[in-house]
Amino acid sequence: MSEIFYKEAVRDALREEMLRDERVFLLGLDIGRFGGTYKATQGLWEEFGGERVRDTPLSEAAIAGCAVGAAMTGLRPVAEIMYIDFTTIAMDQIVNQAAKLGYMSGGQARIPVVFRTQEGAGRSSAAQHAQSLEAWFAHIPGLKVALPATPGDAKGLLKTAVRDDAPVMFIEHKLLYNTRGEVPEGEYTIPFGEARICREGSDVTVVALSRMVLRALEAADRLAGEGIRVEVIDPRTIVPLDIDTIVASVEKTGRLVVAHEAYTRCGFGAEIAAQVMERALYSLEKPLKRVCGKNLPVPFAPVMENFVIPGADDIVRAVKELL
């Protein structure tokens, strides 16, 4: 095991896949010479050249569409959309084209494209650079959705994403790039649809997405001091979703908190909650709780931003209310 930054894990995964398969190439705004806004592609332009690490004009629809066309015709592009907020401009290509053309062509097309992007609040970037929109993509049949919370998962999941023949939304978190974590030595991948039990516990299950996994672990640490044993589960991919692991945990604890930064209303937590109720309603000893973003645009001033985005305190409070 070695400890590296999340941004390095992303870069290493891309580098290894580019070395392994010459069909893999990158395109996006500022990913080349500049190394990416969050430096997740740093050094790749120097190593692979502008042909395979392609700087594009500021054109999200063209970036996404160009990736779809290249994927349909024998290449394996990884397209970066700098902020998930900007996928709005590329939405036709992601939702109507990438997600559907394989199916609509009667299975003729394979579209092995990865859309790399990042989401999340916490940098005082205001409402157009701070959203968490994973539920939009999870709603669309034909897209897989990964949200790595650690460097180890970022690397292993991204390598899997590049090798997948279906379109993948690979959603990083802007405040995770400079976090460190252990990464296995040598070649490894992490399959989609396998949740990680980050911490075992028997009192309450907390299912958290992306950076909220770190806050859930922080909350679990604090609660452990009070003798409360929290089980923290990171689904890692929400499409496909490892509901079995979540249900098994709820059957054990009888109590569920779901936590994400995305807006509460129609957030992916609602889907997790619905699936748990379909499968294990009578295992729940109390109504489940959602600790999610407020149904508001994310405000600019740090004090207000912190108010709308949940933190470890909110998870601690929710867990205690369930006991």
């Binding site: 392609r54 569409g65 290249a70 349909m72 401009i89 109507n96 009667g106 279906a166």
Partner: protein, 333 residues
């Protein structure tokens, strides 16, 4: 702006086109015409589900463009796409079966009229989103360039799509990367019901080529030979690494936006004028005058195409319907 007619006239004089090419253009146009006439009838008698965007009147445009392409060159098409895919070489029977939603259709009944695709013929799919196929075509052109395959791409779209942001983004990107692509704008004068004069303040979409730094050429879209020559020129340029070309084929959709739209927003004289400029009889006169084909041969081809279309209808009618649970197949995510 370079215009087609002088170039075409000069080339015609200097390099008479081979008879089999000229005859091929004719057969393609007839196949499109007869397929579309029959599809409209079948739609109006409610044999076909969904809705239908007829290509009637625009046949010369698809025939001319696709005749200049190789089998492995790519096209992307539109909601009004039957003509493009027929010209690119699809079989009428499997096309008709797709319109009927049968398992023998090109997309096994999952796409329908607006989404016919055949990757083995370079047809990356017709598209229901106006302008949606254009960035995809740019990606295919990038792929061709990166794989050094020598393929070129023709992306068909209409005058309406030229107002989409996707067109602008795609054209600019293709220009930046000098990609082997032809942007083929079939200007059939109307975006649904809105005349192109109300959508832009320039007389020709072709003028927009200049803003991306590549040639924009307008051509009589009802003259298959003119379209072929202009396209051949652009294909040659693209294959040689010269980058994109915008070709605007001026033509007219005879029916409204979809079959069932009476098109009352169009002046009667305008419709009559364009119908008088029907590309088929006009081209047949040309072939006869040049001695390429005689009346009898043309009549024989008509008979063959008629029979081919009837056989396609019979094939589609007798093909199995999908089972409901076939909806679960061909899904990979």
């Amino acid at each position: 702006m370079p215009e087609a007619p002088p170039l075409v006239a000069a080339e015609r004089a200097a390099h008479p086109l081979p008879a089999d090419l000229l005859k091929g253009l004719h057969r393609t146009m007839l196949r499109i015409r007869r397929f579309e006439e029959r599809a409209v009838e079948l739609f109006l008698t409610q044999e076909l589900p969904g809705f239908l965007h007829s290509y009637l009147g625009q046949e010369a445009s698809a025939a001319g463009v696709c005749a200049a392409l190789r089998r492995d060159d790519y096209i992307t098409s539109t909601h009004r796409g039957h003509g493009h895919v027929i010209a690119k070489g699809l079989q009428l029977d499997r096309m008709m079966a797709e319109l009927y939603g049968r398992t023998t259709g090109y997309c096994k009944g999952k796409g329908g009229s607006m989404h016919i695709a055949d990757f083995s013929r370079g047809i990356l799919g017709a598209n229901g989103i106006v302008g949606g196929g254009i960035p995809i075509a740019v990606g295919a052109a990038l792929s061709a360039k990166m794989r050094r395959s020598g393929q070129v791409v023709a992306t068909f779209f209409g005058d309406g799509a030229s107002s989409q942001g996707a067109f602008h983004e795609a054209a600019n990107l293709a220009s930046c990367w000098t990609l082997p692509i032809l942007f083929v704008c079939e200007n059939n004068q109307y975006a649904v019901s809105t005349h192109c004069g109300a959508q832009m303040r320039i007389p020709d979409v072709a003028l927009r080529g200049a803003s991306y730094g590549f040639p924009g050429i307008k051509v009589d879209g009802n003259d298959p030979v003119a379209v072929y020559l202009v396209t051949s020129d652009a294909v040659e340029r693209a294959r040689a690494g010269g980058g994109p070309t915008l070709i605007e084929t001026k033509t007219y959709k005879w029916l409204g936006h979809y079959v069932g739209d009476p098109g009352a927003y169009r002046p009667k004289e305008e419709v009559a004028g364009w119908k008088a400029n029907d590309p088929l009889p006009r081209y047949e006169r040309y072939l006869i005058e040049r001695g390429v084909m005689g009346e009898a041969e043309i009549e024989a081809v008509r008979g063959e195409v008629h029979a081919e279309v009837e056989a396609a209808v019979e094939f589609a009618r007798s093909s199995p319907l999908p089972r409901p649970e076939d909806a679960l197949e061909d899904f990979y995510a």
